[in-house]
Symmetry: C2
Subunit: 271 residues, 2 copies
Amino acid sequence: MLAALLNGQSESIGLGVGVEDRGLAYGDGLFETMRWANGRIRLFARHYARLQRGCEELGIPTPSVSLIQQEIDSLARPVEHACIKYIVTRGAGGRGYRGSATVQPNRLAMLYPPTEGANDGIRVRWCATRLARNAQLAGIKHLNRLENVLAQREWDDARIAEGLLMDTEGELIGATAGNLFVVIDGVLVTPDLRFSGIRGVMREHVLSQAKRLGIATEERALWPDELVNASEAFITNALRGVRPIIELDGAALPDGSVALRIQQAVAAADE
Amino acid sequence: MLAALLNGQSESIGLGVGVEDRGLAYGDGLFETMRWANGRIRLFARHYARLQRGCEELGIPTPSVSLIQQEIDSLARPVEHACIKYIVTRGAGGRGYRGSATVQPNRLAMLYPPTEGANDGIRVRWCATRLARNAQLAGIKHLNRLENVLAQREWDDARIAEGLLMDTEGELIGATAGNLFVVIDGVLVTPDLRFSGIRGVMREHVLSQAKRLGIATEERALWPDELVNASEAFITNALRGVRPIIELDGAALPDGSVALRIQQAVAAADE
């Protein structure tokens, strides 16, 4: 980590979240991981919209756009490229699940070195860890992420960039840290995430770019055997962009042209 | 909170968990909530066994018995009765889900005023929040507890002590902060928690006391309509003990004798 602000305050040493913070106690909060490039946060409006939706779902007051933007600006201004992690928790208070009624949200902004973006293909594998289904929490980027942690602990081979995840019913949901798109009969299909997974900001951006390009899109339940019939597949992530899958558990996946068109559209878009 | 130790260190002001702690970032850790009474931790062997099992499931090195006991003793020694909350996280390190390989667990011990134990009956309600099913995480007391938080936010009436929770398939799992027992045809039945819920230490203690008393017990899938046929029902929790349910959503539940026998056995047991 390069620097951090806790509720707008910087401390070079000993910056710590209160031991009673409910983010620590219960994962009672939300986060965003954003790309800082050339003096601004890419896809910020989408990041903020997701954070706001998550705050509403959990009943946490959403920090204002200007407050978040100001904190990130003051942290990232000295650098050209960076990764920003922003956490909002319900705050500190109360020992039990219920907490106190007067709790105030805590905001934590952290600056990290940039993640290398690239357009070339990646190797992926299947994960044994399954995602639980819960419509109430699906889509939002809350802090209850043990499943993602356990999934990434399944492999240790740096040549494998990502792992694919099914939910407990065997539906294909996405990657451990990204959303999945597959092209089937010319249609760009992505899981609808009605029961699990995170609605990635790059996922939303890709769907919108695809529509602009006249590519048919579909959000629906996706099953693992459909990967066999896919003419191509790629993974999206706000930091890493659009990455075609070239290999799944050692078997080559076909190379298509949709990922390339989407990559070009995302690069050209001013979001 | 009355006092706290972070990795054995006390600080009267500004005790904080590092902003990169994975407990905060992902709920990547475990906790125990224990009753301190007359100079010792009640049911400590059971608390430690659950913590150890959880650490093994998550791949976190378990702090030693003597270290945990020593930290809690030094914190609680001045008081006669207290509630102890003990958190173990994977530690601080790495921005992504994977984290760094060299991460060291963090230990947090917190001292709170005692929770009033009582033997009288309680009123409960149904919660709309459902628990997701995930066999991999079921039973352990990990820090991903948003479902419990959201469930307790469903009501604000202090006369209602607890809420009952089903999982997403409609199985009856327990209370928001306790396990459920029902007596059906003379058998003491409790959900088997194979897909969700927490294996409470008081639940294990009650099962063991029931066996000692010659009461037949069964751990199995339990369904809401079975409450109708129950001759009694009660909720267990390490801090609050054994509490008979006298009312569910305004309807009286029958009063049985099993809860009373279990209460007496728990009070007499030297655990």
